[in-house]
């Protein structure tokens, strides 16, 4: 079994996704356990793969026994197996959290919801483990289609927002596909390692420049980098909370992962890649400022978190674009941290909306007494988002700022620190409303203490705890995993 772990990461969720709608017609309980089992299986395989690659180096798996340049290859190195582990772990927590949310639904509908959720996982895990450009496109579309359907399952506004996202997302995927088309025309291969080997002969040609730019633009739209983020706030604000907890936590990270993989591991020696990275670094700096400023202007908590995500994606992108060892460590650590922090914040905010029916800041007055545990988790995650020690957010920002100082990019240092101050503004405002404001007596009748059901509370609290643990043990994470996940040559 362990010999096939790389492909099982993708196959298990895919196979169960087909089964779940049928099983849920018979028993909802079984269907839900099946979803959890599938995700647990994927997580186990990812953990096996991570342990294996850390001890023996990258693990190449040839699908159907076909040799790489012809067949599809899955490559598991510490970066991809680490991402797969993160995705499946967050997915398990979200699947547990989804229980009470789905319990009011008809069996056929909740079965389809679980099935789509597993398909979304299949797509994301596939993007992470594949070593083939076209296979990556297919998984990108699998994850996107599942995400469109899941996002649209909210209110009618969510459907309109999703339609916009669908148009933009399809354009993004087409950009990527065209870029891959150019690469294929130049090198005659779709295998990533093979493209890298044939690169020196074509690196100066103008079609190659077009290919790099198309791929970078396509994946940046998917990752909602600033000028291309238009689809994100509406989609995040109206979608069902379960979905958004997962999508905001991992989906945009996966696009950045793909960009990182393509630019640093495959096409890196080419000159145009360096120029693309410079452009991306300025786009990222603008994203950080714009995201934070727009977040300050929002009254709706989920919209505020959405704009804050735009800013935080800028942090990760800036670290990647700076490209020094410290900055890359910061970017990867921030990818991990932000998944956990934003997952925690969105799940908690979604829980509050589920309980009180509102996500508006004005209705947050006195919420800390009504839902103490949920609010405590929000406070921990908020402190981490601002970047105060000893939470996880401090350390990744520390690496990012140090990385920027090393290359004397003082503008970026100022941007990173300034945006931390802005995030302090909008997160402390939430804390102030929740803890210090008294609810208006006549507006809200009796407020009794009534936190979320245990099923929803446990994932939120687990995420909040891991923010603290990641902060305390960040050195271990870096020295055991992240430093091996960096591209090895030239760093």
């Amino acid at each position: 079994m362990t010999a096939h772990a790389p492909v099982l990461i993708v196959v298990i969720p895919l196979a169960i996704a087909v089964l779940v709608p049928l099983v849920s017609l018979r028993s909802d309980q079984w269907a839900r356990s099946l979803v959890l089992l599938a995700l647990l299986g994927a997580m186990t395989c990812a953990a096996i793969a991570l342990a294996q690659t850390l001890s023996t180096g990258p693990w190449h798996y040839h699908l159907g026994g076909w040799e790489p340049p012809w067949g599809i290859e899955y490559v598991l190195d510490p970066l991809s197996s680490g991402m797969a582990l993160l995705i499946s772990a967050v997915a398990i927590l979200v699947a547990i959290y989804a229980g009470p949310h789905l319990s009011g639904w008809a069996a056929s509908r909740s079965g389809l919801f679980s099935s789509l959720f597993l398909l979304l996982n299949t797509g994301l895990l596939g993007i992470v483990v594949t070593g083939d450009f076209f296979n990556l496109y297919v998984f990108l579309e699998i994850s996107s289609l599942a995400a469109y359907a899941l996002l649209a399952s909210g209110t009618i506004q969510a459907t309109v927002a999703t339609f916009r996202y669908l148009i933009i997302g399809t354009i993004a995927a087409t950009f990527y596909l065209l870029g891959v088309g150019y690469l294929y025309a130049l090198t005659g291969t779709l295998n990533m390692a093979d493209v890298a080997a044939r690169l020196p002969a074509v690196a100066d040609s103008s079609p190659f420049v077009v290919a790099v730019i198309f791929i970078a633009v396509g994946l940046s739209i998917k990752a909602a980098l600033f000028p291309m983020h238009g689809w994100l706030p509406d989609a995040y604000a109206y979608a069902p909370p379960t979905v958004i907890g997962f999508i905001s936590a991992v989906m945009s990270k996966v696009s950045i992962y793909a960009l990182f993989r393509v630019l640093y591991f495959i096409l890196h020696p080419a000159e145009i890649v360096g120029q693309t990275l410079t452009v991306l670094s300025w786009a990222a700096a603008i994203a950080i400022l714009a995201g934070s400023l727009l977040a300050v202007a929002q009254r709706d908590i989920r919209r505020m978190l959405a704009y804050s995500s735009v800013g935080q994606m800028g942090y990760i992108m800036l670290g990647l674009a700076l490209g020094t060892r410290t900055a890359l460590i910061g970017a990867l650590l921030h990818m991990l941290n932000h998944s956990i922090m934003k997952g925690c914040l969105f799940l908690a905010a979604g829980g509050i909306q589920w309980r009180t029916g509102s996500c508006n800041l004005d209705d947050f007055a006195g919420i800390s007494r009504r839902m103490p545990f949920t609010m405590a988790a929000i406070v921990v995650a908020a402190i981490s988002m601002i970047g105060l020690p000893p939470t996880a957010g401090f350390f990744s920002k520390w690496y990012l700022v140090t990385g920027a100082i090393q290359v004397h990019a003082w503008v970026f240092v100022a941007v990173l620190i300034g945006s931390s101050l802005l995030s302090a503004v909008y997160f402390f405002r939430v804390v102030e409303w929740a803890y210090l404001r008294e609810p208006e007596r006549d507006a809200t009748p009796a407020i009794e203490r009534q936190d979320l059901p245990v099923q929803m509370l446990i994932p939120i609290l687990l995420l909040a705890t891991s923010i603290l643990l990641l902060g305390l043990f960040n050195q271990t994470v870096i020295s055991r995993v992240i430093q091996y996940a960096l591209p090895q040559e030239g760093f």
Binding site: Y148, F163, L177
Partner: protein
């Protein structure tokens, strides 16, 4: 090539399903009208 066509068809399918849902609720697909009705 073939895969890209399959992906294109399924994307169009999802898009049309979303449009049908929007049309059933708002009774229109004209963008200015739609945005106006969403404001209300």
């Amino acid at each position: 090539m073939l895969t890209a066509i399959v992906v294109g068809v399924s994307t169009t399918g999802v898009a049309l399903a979303l449009l049908i849902r929007i049309y059933r609720y708002y009774g229109t697909l004209e963008e200015p009208e739609l945005l106006q009705r969403m404001q209300e």
